[in-house]
Symmetry: none
């Protein structure tokens, strides 16, 4: 089974955005056992789009489209496919009702061009959009399969995962044994060290297959196996998971695809534990990350962003002599991190208090280099932990890595 991915959008051809959809879709198709032989990018131009479709029909069985489903004149993906397949288009009533309800709810007038987002090609199955307005389509004709997805990754990913993948399994992979996967999630370890610890398992992999990959500071392993039933697959997947866990007990935090903050919030909620934070260089990112998880309101009470020394003193009560003066350790120090963590915990009467203080960069601060960060974790009745981090990268990386580091340390503390 051969596939081609066609990404549509002049913004890709101008280099304004990078084609992460092609990467995502390639990975997902590979896991389904479908070989991607070509990726094509074409602009918002009807003639060239039709030309790309015709070429793809000659070399692929499955053609997955991303982009060009929006409301504007230059969103032409469905038009091009409909013309090539010789089919009409009509408005899908459910998708249209959703779009109208949205505009009504907002109290704004729906412009006429928004109707285009509800278009469906005659004979296709609609792929509802959970996180946006443009309707996806899936259709088969003459032994070829066409999957039509929106461009924004936050719409494409859930649509592929929840709508297109089951459609492909049902309509395309009819004679294959189904593939079952399990995601193992790791924190506090890099991809190369993780690979080293598991090198013999990875090199001798046959069934299940073991695919490690790194993404935004986290390492994930996907175990996959083909089996007639889920129960038979689970036996093989669980056995391999146990082997891997025994090698990396301090790093494997989940066996489903969730970020570590999800694991932390659920662990703490189950035990009735509460959390607070005092953030300097991360500017609220730790709390923002925790509160991205539904249900975090029973765990995170709140906290402080104390970006200036004045605020560290006034809001948290960090002693002046720690922050300023010739012998002061300064805002970026283990002492200040410890005070911040302990004080936010006490003020909010939480079980745990977190703190982050450091130099996000670019450039140094207090004569300390960019990337130097201290994190603190205060726990009721326990000694406060403080860690020094020396992080690489730009401002964004330093802040992201500091957040990952403190979440990892908190998770580890919750294990003990």
């Amino acid at each position: 089974m051969k596939a081609e991915i066609i990404a549509v959008g002049t913004e890709l051809l101008l280099g304004q955005i990078v084609n992460t959809n092609a990467q995502y879709l390639s990975q997902e198709l590979a896991f389904l056992g479908i070989d991607v032989y070509f990726q094509t990018v074409v602009g918002d131009n009807l003639g060239r789009l039709k030309q790309a479709i015709t070429i793809a029909q000659n070399r692929a069985d499955v053609i997955v489209f991303s982009g060009g489903l929006g409301p504007t004149q230059d969103d032409l993906t469905k038009d091009a496919i409909a013309e090539v397949l010789g089919r009409k288009m009509y408005i899908d009533e459910d998708a249209m009702a959703k779009i109208e309800a949205l505009f009504k709810g907002r109290g704004t007038v729906m412009t006429e061009n928004n109707r285009r987002q509800a278009l469906i090609i005659e004979g296709s199955d609609p792929l509802p959009n959970e996180t946006g307005l443009a309707l996806g389509n899936a259709i088969s004709q003459d032994g070829k399969y066409y999957i039509i997805l929106p461009g924004p990754p936050k719409e494409l990913i859930p649509m592929f995962d929840h709508q297109a993948k089951p459609w492909i399994v049902k309509h395309v992979l009819t004679s294959e044994m189904p593939l079952f996967s399990k995601m193992l999630k790791f924190a506090g370890i890099g991809e190369s060290l993780l690979e080293e610890k598991l090198i013999d398992l990875i090199q001798n992999q046959t069934d299940p297959t073991i695919a490690p990959y790194a993404k935004e500071g986290e390492v994930t392993i996907r175990l996959s196996t083909k089996a007639p039933t889920k129960a038979e697959a689970n036996v093989k997947l669980n056995e391999m998971e146990a082997k891997i866990k025994a090698r990396l007990p301090q790093h494997l935090y989940a066996n489903i695809d969730v970020p570590i903050e999800h694991t932390i919030v659920h662990l703490m909620a189950d035990q009735g534990l509460t959390l607070s934070a005092a953030e300097s260089c991360t500017g609220g990112m730790v709390m923002e990350t925790i509160t991205s998880i539904a249900g975090s309101s029973s765990v995170l009470k709140g906290g402080f962003v104390t970006y200036t020394n004045e605020m560290k003193e006034q809001l948290l009560g960090v002693p002046h002599h720690l922050l300023e003066g010739t012998d002061a350790p300064g805002a970026v120090s283990a002492e200040t991190a410890q005070e911040m963590a302990e004080r936010v915990r006490t003020i909010t009467n939480s079980d745990f208090g977190l703190s982050v203080t450091g130099v996000a960069g670019p450039g140094e601060s207090e004569g300390k280099p960019a990337g130097l960060v201290y994190i603190g974790i205060a726990e009721k009745g326990k000694e406060t932990e403080v860690h020094q981090l020396k992080l690489h990268g730009n401002r964004e990386s330093v802040r992201n890595r500091a957040v990952k580091a403190i979440l990892y340390r908190l998770w580890l503390k919750l294990q003990s």
Copy 2:
């Protein structure tokens, strides 16, 4: 002048890496005034590679290749091009001497396959590799131009910039004018409404061209024009910018590619203004966004994440009767948003105090629906502004849109 980019590598088709080379090359070619009409990705397979080259010859004048120049058996880019063009290959002596010297310097034995990296197609100009071993090639035949570059970005970028670009200017762009662009950034308006406001300009566009696109809740327009000099281009670009600005003065926040928080931080820093925030449902995201900008430390003093009612009372002093009781407006109300904004401004003695309180979802809270959010902006000596938002989407979207909305309102207030 039309171009196609062909990236070669099975790792791209497996989704192991993202095709950042296509983005870089597209941007660079656009700036040279060469229109990229297609990007193709093909695996390390001679037959499919030759097929991709033949297709590209029919639709492009300039074909830029990245990848497949390494020492191994599956590095086949030069082989495929040489076969399609009917030319021989030989070893470039300079490149070979460099490879041999490198191995000698390392004290390691050069394996025979490394000779492949010094291959040059008969009749091409060599493009030396400053940061690696594989030699680039540039060749013209039958009015078509072939630029052959290595895959690793740290080799490709300097080779393109220092070797290929001058080659293209000399051999390809003998009579063309360079392209100049300008980015206009908008907030508080969706793509479809923006397009409607500018529909006559967009439909009649000839020079400059007007390309709108939406990305992560922001709308951007790229104006582009060809001109002999930058000064002449600027006359045309500035004139169109002024026309667009006159239509959307309340939305055009920048004429360079920056997010709105960048504009806000710089506007406030220039006027010596300070800011603080009290966040409930956004959990720190407003402050995290502001502090993502280098230099924000002179603007954002800090603030509070008050995720629970208890914290709203204890840390901010929001009156209990507003939050709880049968007649209380509740935490998610205009009254609470106003109190939060005013109190955080006063406590931190800032010029502006922001507040966000709402239901991020999933599911309702206090009997209020997910997506209902109140934002407040308190300004020293002015009446506090409160806006009710009814936002659509999942928890992440609601939070992101609430942040975009309050930043837009703050920017608007800074204009008055």
